[in-house]
Amino acid sequence: MSESYPRPPNHSMAEVVETNNKAVFKPKITVFHCFNAISSTAGADSNEYDISAVRMPCSSMTREVFLLRAFEAGADAVVVMVCPEGDCRYMEGNIRAGKRVARVKKILDEIGLDGKRLNIYPVPEKDLNTIDRIIKQTVSDLAGLGPNPAS
């Protein structure tokens, strides 16, 4: 599954932020995760970005409005981490979450916030490497997208 994620560029995140975005900003990322997928995102914080994590008993509880409210609360990007397909303890939670994310991406596009600020990734159980890579990818994407224009 490592192939499915584009690798972040090889230079430091601070550099990226500086070059692509002129004014330096410290991205705020909200991570929704199913506690079956990962037990904690602790340790993922850094000087370059802020992370707030929202734990859910199952990814099927990802409701549209929660994702939107995260943006209202100032998130520059929202990441939903779910169990890989077929691994959901509650059968289809991750599929449902995928559909809802797709719908909210559309709403974000309509608002003009850019649906690319919201992404969903499958994460094999407690795979910290993958989590780390996803966060780095998000930070690098944000360098291009800039801060949330509605915050």
Partner: protein, 222 residues
């Protein structure tokens, strides 16, 4: 149930632009079932609108409320205080609900947030289909329980047109030809020959063609 679909965000935004305090009023009956105007949709829309206005550098205060049914006075009474507090109401009910609210609260602008589309069913998860046009003179008995008025694109009463193909309607290959269904079902009952009887033109007076309709139940008027 009445099936409807939320209007595009841009259209709703344009409707509410003159107001700074807005009540989004949901309805917990039909439009909730078809995911157009229940609590969840009210919350999602409120959040989307707040974000959209904030992005444009504008503030809008949005209050959310969902009542059981907007087409009954009994239930919309509950919204009185919330309506009084706001500049306008964006109703996510069907067209009937919107008008009921507008009728009771004559001083508040009441705007539609949903396009009311048809009387239909939940055919399967995520799929709603039209089944009735409310013609006021039901003829389902003649047509093996399948309504040619709402489900045949040409409202044909005497058999399929020449465009019926492979069970699908000429108008849309994703739509079943109502007449194929009528014939199949009649065959299942062993009543295909019934369809050889000439069905006279429909009397449309009972439909909307006869003007807005009213139903009076004397036994319920006290």
């Amino acid at each position: 149930m009445i099936v409807g679909q939320q209007k595009p965000l841009a259209e709703i935004k344009a409707e509410v632009v003159p107001f700074s305090k807005l009540l989004i009023l949901g309805c917990g009956t039909c439009v909730k079932t078809c995911f157009a105007g229940g609590e969840d949709e009210v919350a999602t829309l409120a959040s989307s609108l707040r974000l959209a206005f904030k992005k444009d550098g504008r503030q809008i205060k949005i209050e959310e409320l969902t009542v059981e049914r907007q087409c009954e006075d009994e239930f919309i009474k509950e919204a009185a205080a919330a309506i009084a507090r706001n500049d306008a109401v964006l109703s996510l009910a069907c067209g009937a609900g919107v008008q009921m609210v507008a009728n009771r609260y004559a001083k508040s602008p009441v705007l539609p947030g949903v396009n009311t589309t048809f009387i239909g069913i939940l055919e399967k998860q995520g799929l709603f289909t039209e089944k009735c046009l409310g013609c006021g003179d039901c003829v389902l008995d003649v047509f093996a329980g399948i309504c040619p008025v709402s489900r045949c694109s040409k409202k044909l009463m005497n058999g399929p047109c020449g465009g019926s193909h492979g069970g699908k309607c000429e108008v849309n290959p994703d739509t079943d030809c109502a007449w194929q269904l009528i014939i199949d079902r009649s065959k299942d009952f062993g009543q295909l020959d019934r369809l050889s009887t000439y069905v006279p033109p429909k009397d449309w007076r009972t439909s909307n063609a006869g003007g807005p309709r009213k139903l009076v139940r004397e036994d319920h008027i006290i």
